[in-house]
């Protein structure tokens, strides 16, 4: 199991979350049967049954994996086999085509070095690998293939929203299956606690991609914290990692860092990479909850925890002035404690796009260089403009439904669990660390996968895009 010090592989992949698993999945399809791939995972493998018996244990393990210098702004990552798939809510929207060209279209933030059209086939492939349930014939983004599963049942408030906004409200695409996935997962039955699904229904690396790690060409080493990439000139020679307190070395022709957006830049910084943007631009979306008090309409009939996506405040010329907002409709039964109105409540999560800021960053700490140190200087001014728009527009939108009131929370949700942007991708080596294929601009046999490459954070959940980008990167390598 353990890779002995100095052993040589064709490729080393760091991490076992979405970024690494989808990359590996595609890479293995193109590698010879004699190839050898070493996968190093800092965490341990925790079976679903173990996780049920130890609630929040993975959260505690992950919290110890980095130093948060601004605890008021928490970050959610995972340090365990399967990475973020252990705790995600399995929401799988794509980005909109315009999300890839914010600067060109609206004069704000940055363009991506890749277009929606280029990524589209990989989006489809990722959706099929995850058995996503979604609205094939009624989608906010262009599609070349239908979703593998039909959308979940909408709630009654969703149906009213669909009627009011037929071109801007859709059933949420999700890797919480609407039907049993033969041999893998039961259909979602709306338990509403998706961070740890009681019946293991949502897609996880554990329950759906175990075959990647069982491949005889793959050597998986758990509890192996990668400290740095061995770089000689403009070439990655391998990695240095620590396992059971001992320093180990492994060598390979190709190194792919696929850890989270806190660890990826940290490893590169410790490896001597001095790019001015490395570790900078740490960002994610922010969000505000809203309660819509319904009048005579019951909620919670939907088929899964989050049933709808509202794009009414998302894309359009307004993005020159304020960021996009995505509305999620929640079907988790949080009752309204009023006689006769128990179910007359619609909870919305209003997810707001944020632009990256250089001040928000990951560094190597002088106190403990083995863990990334994270600082956050707060929201940019664009968030306040989005909140103004939300307060102005949401009551107007919801007035299309029979309602009594709309109540928007005054405090932001602390985290969306989507750390992004610290090893930014781009075409210009002066303003980006990796290129459009996630290859390091200078070290051409080093890839940096995952959310760390995101130039901007659309309000859409990033996981499907992370997975599609990994497929895109692997496909390019093999071509």
């Amino acid at each position: 199991m353990a890779g002995p010090t100095g052993e040589r592989f064709d490729a080393i992949v760091v991490g076992t979350g979405f970024a690494s698993s989808f990359f590996l999945h595609r890479l293995l399809r193109g590698l010879a049967s004699s190839s050898r791939v070493l996968v190093l995972e800092a965490g341990r493998r925790h079976a679903h049954s173990w996780q049920l018996q130890h609630p929040r244990a993975l959260e505690k393990i992950a919290a110890r994996s980095f130093i948060n210098r601004t605890p008021a702004k928490p970050w959610v990552v995972q340090r365990a086999f399967g990475g973020g798939s252990n705790c995600w809510w399995a929401c799988t929207p794509r980005l909109l085509p315009s999300d890839f060209a914010l600067h060109s279209n609206y004069g704000v933030a940055t363009d991506w070095p890749i277009s929606y059209d280029e990524l589209e086939p990989l989006y489809s492939e990722a959706e099929w690998l995850m058995d996503v349930a979604g609205p094939s014939d009624d989608s906010p983004f262009p599609r070349s293939r239908p979703y593998p599963q039909p959308a979940h049942r909408m709630s009654d408030p969703d149906k009213l929203l669909k009627r009011a906004f037929p071109d801007a409200f859709f059933a949420q695409p999700t890797a919480r299956p609407s039907r049993t996935v033969a041999g893998k997962r039961a259909a979602c039955c709306n338990n509403g606690v998706c961070e740890l699904c009681p019946i293991d229904s949502k897609f996880t690396v554990h329950n759906s991609m175990g075959n990647v790690y069982a491949d005889p060409r793959v050597t998986l080493v758990l509890g192996a914290r990668v400290d740095q990439v061995d770089i000689a000139g403009d070439r990655a020679e391998g990695v240095v990692y620590t396992r059971d307190g001992r320093e180990e070395h492994a060598r390979a022709d190709l190194v792919a860092l696929g850890a989270n957006a806190l660890s990826n830049p940290h490893v590169l910084l410790r490896s001597g990479d001095t790019h001015a943007l490395l570790g900078r631009r740490l960002h994610e979306q922010t969000s505000l909850k809203a309660n819509v008090l319904l009048d005579g309409v019951d909620n919670f009939q939907g088929g899964t925890s989050i049933t709808g996506h509202g794009y009414m405040l998302y894309d359009g010329p307004h993005r020159s002035e304020r960021p996009a907002i995505l509305l999620e409709t929640w079907n988790v039964p949080r009752l309204r404690n009023e006689r006769g109105k128990w179910r007359q409540l619609l909870k919305l999560m209003c997810i707001i796009e944020q632009y990256p800021r250089r001040e928000n960053r990951v560094e190597v700490s002088s106190e403990d260089s083995t863990r990334p140190a994270v600082s956050h200087a707060g929201h940019g001014p664009e968030v306040a403009r989005a909140v103004d728009a939300l307060q102005r527009e949401l009551p107007r939108l919801m007035a299309k439904l029979p309602i009594e009131d709309v109540r928007i929370a005054s405090e932001f949700k602390q985290t969306e669990a989507h750390a992004l942007g610290t090893v930014v991708m781009g075409n210009d080596p002066a303003t980006s660390v990796v290129d459009r294929h996630l290859i390091h601009h200078r070290i051409r046999n080093l890839l940096v996968l995952g959310g760390s490459a995101f130039p901007t954070a659309s309000p859409a959940n990033p996981t499907l895009t992370i997975s599609a980008l990994s497929l895109f990167a692997a496909e390019h390598l093999l071509s």
């Binding site: 609205p135 039909p150 909408m154 149906k159 609407s178 039907r179 049993t180 128990w342």
Partner: protein
């Protein structure tokens, strides 16, 4: 067979079938056992317990037998520890969802029956809010029927216009 038993038959059966495919384990199935609650020993209710007093006062307009309060208090204590008035708000929603109140259309004239402790980790797939027709969806979800779309379960006021995505 109790009313609840007939209501939960499909989710339980589907769940067990799916579980066999997905995990082969029995761990989660136990929460969906339709006879779980009746098999528990009968508990003598303390009508003056703080939880019972608070629930009875709050739901004064509903017909609730002492045994319903007792069963809920027992399960709450078993799974979360006894309710402490000064430490947490009264579990009004959880109590109602643990009865057949919503399955009976929130009909305030019907006496409540205790069904199952409402906690997804205790009773996975127990969903008192799913529409009756959702059993059709559950069947469609099962491995032996891949043809159907999600059932349109809108109330009559919504039914005439089928949403494109449902």
């Amino acid at each position: 067979m109790t009313k609840f038993a007939s209501l939960v038959r499909w989710p339980r059966r589907t769940f067990l079938r799916a579980l066999g495919i997905a995990t082969g384990g029995l761990l989660f199935a136990q929460g969906c056992r339709e006879d779980e609650a009746p098999s528990e020993p009968r508990v003598v209710v303390n009508p003056n317990a703080p939880l019972t007093r608070v629930l009875r006062r709050h739901f004064h307009y509903l017909e609730i037998d002492d045994a319903v309060f007792a069963a809920f208090a027992r399960d709450l204590a078993k799974h979360q520890g006894p309710w402490r008035p000064k430490k947490s708000p009264p579990p009004f929603s959880r109590f109602l969802a643990s009865t057949d109140f919503f399955q009976n259309g929130a009909d305030e004239s019907r006496a409540l029956t205790y069904v199952s402790y409402y906690d997804p980790y205790v009773s996975p797939c127990y969903n008192p809010f799913a529409p009756a027709q959702a059993t059709g969806l559950t069947r469609a979800n099962s491995s032996d029927d891949r043809g159907g779309r999600a059932a349109d379960t809108a109330p009559s006021s919504l039914r005439e216009e089928r949403p494109r995505s449902a």
